[in-house]
Amino acid sequence: MTGVRLLVGTRKGAFILTADGKREKWDVSGPHFGGWEIYHLKGSPADPNRIYASQSSDWFGQVNHRSDDGGKTWNTVGNEFVYEGDPGPHQWYDGTPHPWEFKRVWHFEPSLTDPDTVYAGVEDAALFRSTDAGQTWQELPGLRGHTTAASWAPGAGGLCLHTILIDPQNPDRLYIAISAAGAFRSDDAGQSWTPINQGLHSQYIPDPNAEVGHCVHRIAMHPSRPEVLYMQKHWDVMRTDNAGDTWHEISGNLPSDFGFVVHVHAHEPETIYVVPIKSDSEHYPPDGKLRVYRSRTGGNDWEALTNGLPQEHAYVNVLRDAMTVDSLDPCGVYFGTTGGQVYASNDAGDNWTAIVENLPSVMSVEVQALP
C-alpha cells in the first residue's frame, strides 16, 4: 500500500485527506461542494478511484456526485428516488400515520465487486440500488414492504436507513439498520427481509420481544467473520454471533453505553471500538473527556484510549458514520467530531493526532487504502 485517502463529509462540504503509509503527514483538499451538507462519501472497494458522494440541502434537496479519479473531479449523477408502488404511511412521532416521503441519502454502500453497483440508504427509510454508477436508482421494495413497516417511527434524526453491510462471503446476504425501526437481514440479495432484533431492550418499548422499534445507531462487521456483528444502539452496545438471530449486551465497564459509532479492527475480529456519549439528551462525552474505548475481547472488557485526545472541556459528538478503520498494518483508526476535528491513530488506537481541527461539523469519515 502506498497510502490512504480519508473521505470526510461535513455540514458545509466534503474534504479529502491523503497521507502515505506512515499516516503522519496529511494533505487536505476541499471544501468540495462548499456550503452543502455532505452526509456521506464512500469509495468502491473494487475501484478506489470511484467515489460516491451524497449532497443534501433543505433548500435544494438531494444531489449525488460520482468521481472516477479519486475525488479530483466530480460528475453529478441521478437524484431521482421513487418508492415502488404506493408507499403508504409509516408512524409519525405522535403515533399517527405519516406518508412515506423521500428526504435524503444517508449512506452509500458500493458493491464489493462491481464499481457501477452501489446501494443507497435513504430517509424515509428504504434501500435503493444503482447498477449504472449512480445514474438511475431502483428501490428494493421488499424492505419497506415488510409487514411491520407501517409501525416504523423516526428517531430524532428522521426515519433513516443509515447502515448497509454486505457479507463478503455471501453476496446474497445484506444487513441494514434503521432509526428507529431496528436491524434487518436479507438472505436473497435484498428481495425479502427479516427483522433481527431479538435480545435488544429499549426502555421505551414495553414488549421485551418487540420485533421492531429499536433505535439502532450503527452495526459493524469484520469481513473474516460476517456472522458476528457489533451494534451501538441508542443505549447499549450489543453483539450477535449468529447473524443477528439473537443479540447479547457487551457494554461491560463502559462509562456510558450510549453512543453512535462502533467499528472493528481490520485484522483482529475481536478488537472493537466505540466512543461513549453521556446520554440521549446530552450528546457529548462523559466528563468532557473525549475517549475512544477499545475492547480486545469482543466486548465487555473495555480500555480507554486517551493519548492525544482532549481530556478536558471536550463536548463534541461523533456521529454514526464518522468512524472508520484502514486495512494497513498497524491498523489505522479515524473519527471525526461535530466540533470539526478529525483524529487519526496509526497504531490501532494507542495514540491519536488531530490531523485537521477546524472543519465544519463532521458527519462521516471513510478511508481508502491506496494501491
Binding site: W59, F60, E80, V82
Partner: protein, 98 residues
C-alpha cells in the same frame, strides 16, 4: 428571451453565472420556464421542484417584478416584462438555517 436568476448553490451546481437566458416558445409560465431550465441544465432536476409532482421545494420562492409569484398556478401567465426579458425571473432561497 427569458432571464432567470439562480441562487448561489444552484449556479455552482449548473456551472453558470448569476443569470441564465432561455428561449421559450408559447406562453411564459412557471412550468415553461422550469421545463426549459431543467432541459438545458439537467443537474438542476429535483433541486427546484419535485421530480414527480413538480411541486416547488418549500424553501424556494419565485419572484418577478417585485412580486412573490410562488403561489400562482404553474400554468398561469407570468408578467409581460418577464416574457420580454425586461425583468428577470428570480428563484430565491429562503433566508434560514446556519
Amino acid at each position: 428571451m427569458i432571464r432567470v436568476r439562480l441562487p448561489h448553490h444552484l449556479r455552482n451546481l449548473a456551472g453558470v453565472g448569476p443569470e441564465v437566458t432561455l428561449e421559450i416558445e408559447g406562453p411564459v409560465t412557471h412550468r415553461a420556464i422550469l421545463d426549459a431550465l431543467e432541459a438545458r441544465y439537467p443537474v438542476l432536476r429535483g433541486t427546484i421542484r419535485d421530480h414527480t409532482t413538480h411541486e416547488r421545494r418549500p424553501f424556494l420562492r419565485f419572484f418577478a417584478c417585485n412580486e412573490d409569484l410562488s403561489f400562482e398556478s404553474p400554468d398561469a401567465a407570468l408578467p409581460n416584462p418577464v416574457a420580454t426579458g425586461a425583468e428577470p425571473y428570480i428563484i430565491l432561497g429562503a433566508i434560514a438555517g446556519g
